[in-house]
Amino acid sequence: MKRSVLVFGVMVFGVALLLWAGWHNLRERRLAMQQAQANRVALVPGKGGQPDSSTAPESEAPTMRGKTAPGFTLVALDGKKVSLSDFKGRPVLVNFWATWCGPCKVEMPWFEEFHKQYAAQGFEILGLADDVDAGKDAIAKVAQKTGVTYPILLTDGKVQTAYGGLDYLPMSFYIDRRGVIVEETAGLGGKDEIEAHIKKTIASGAPAAAGGQ
């Protein structure tokens, strides 16, 4: 009798182990699914005018907000060398884009508009073409088609790494007068959102008393 109770107990243990294994498997799958879902959501950060800190792909692109913008010297489409340090003391938007990137081309005319609108405050935009292999002509063609007149610079591979690797485009870094990145966006946001970031960048690090702006 005792023995059959023991055997029964062992069987219950075996069944429990099987059930636990099944449950564990299900949980793992759910987690993997959630992770995949989260990654998808992360691809459209800052959409609803919401700062994108919570939705930025945490594992892929650590935020550069609050850091000093990495310096660079690149060749512009017209052959001139342009350095970030040339714009010291001015608010600058560094925008990474590529000829194959549709959403990039959507926001470039907006940038051009804001470039003109906020020029009086010293605001400058640098468009960094991420796909130099497309050729200077193709890059120039897109710049022309989008009506962009701000400098378009050809990347050198190092600048992308310095700015966090750029897993996808467009990516924009808003740098204030002190050279600090005050805002970072990934993916296409709304036009109003872009303007709000520009205003914030212009206001940040502005001389409080002397500015009057």
Binding site: S4, F13, G14, L18, L43, W100, G102, P103, P170
Partner: protein
């Protein structure tokens, strides 16, 4: 049922339980760093008649929420989806036949009409293979976007196990 049978049954249950548990533990570890791939290849072994022209259907799946340019995008600036294979001995592969894309335009820019693959798409590869087992190695080059961002062009390794008999 005798006690011996019960004991054997119980022991078997335990062994099975432990085996499943061990398999689970094994599954936990190799969760690789998320591969940044937006297209998956549905690898299936292909069986064709030896020495006769057959058309293989290679199935791909674009991850939900993403799209890739078709083989014939509307602009020369866009990167087409392209499948290429290394030459293989005893297998004569003809040019790949691509499906037509579907029109797509983002809500941000309804004027730009793209031609894309999303969800499942199949590419045809006509082959003539000598009798035997062959492996074809190739790559699918694609460039993916979602509605707000684009990802640099990627290549997906494609391996076909082909049996001709």
């Amino acid at each position: 049922m005798t006690r011996v049978q019960l004991a054997v049954g119980g022991a078997l249950f335990c062994v099975a339980g432990l085996a499943v548990w061990a398999a689970q533990i094994g599954n936990l570890n190799p969760s690789p760093a998320k591969a940044k791939s937006y297209v998956a290849y549905d690898a299936e072994p292909q069986v064709v008649p030896a020495g006769k022209r057959s058309v293989l259907e290679l199935r791909f799946q674009v991850v939900g929420g993403f799209h890739v340019n078709s083989h014939t995008p509307k602009s020369e600036l866009l990167i087409p989806t392209q499948l290429a294979f290394d030459p293989a001995a005893a297998v004569n592969a003809e040019p790949v036949e691509y499906p037509a894309g579907t029109p797509y335009s983002s809500s941000f820019d309804p004027t730009e009409k793209l031609d894309v693959y999303s969800g499942a798409f199949a590419v045809k590869l006509p082959v003539t293979a000598a009798a035997g087992t062959h492996t074809l190695h190739g790559t699918l080059r694609y460039q993916a976007c979602d509605h707000a961002a684009c990802y640099p062009p990627k290549t997906l390794p494609v391996q076909i196990e082909l049996v001709a008999k």
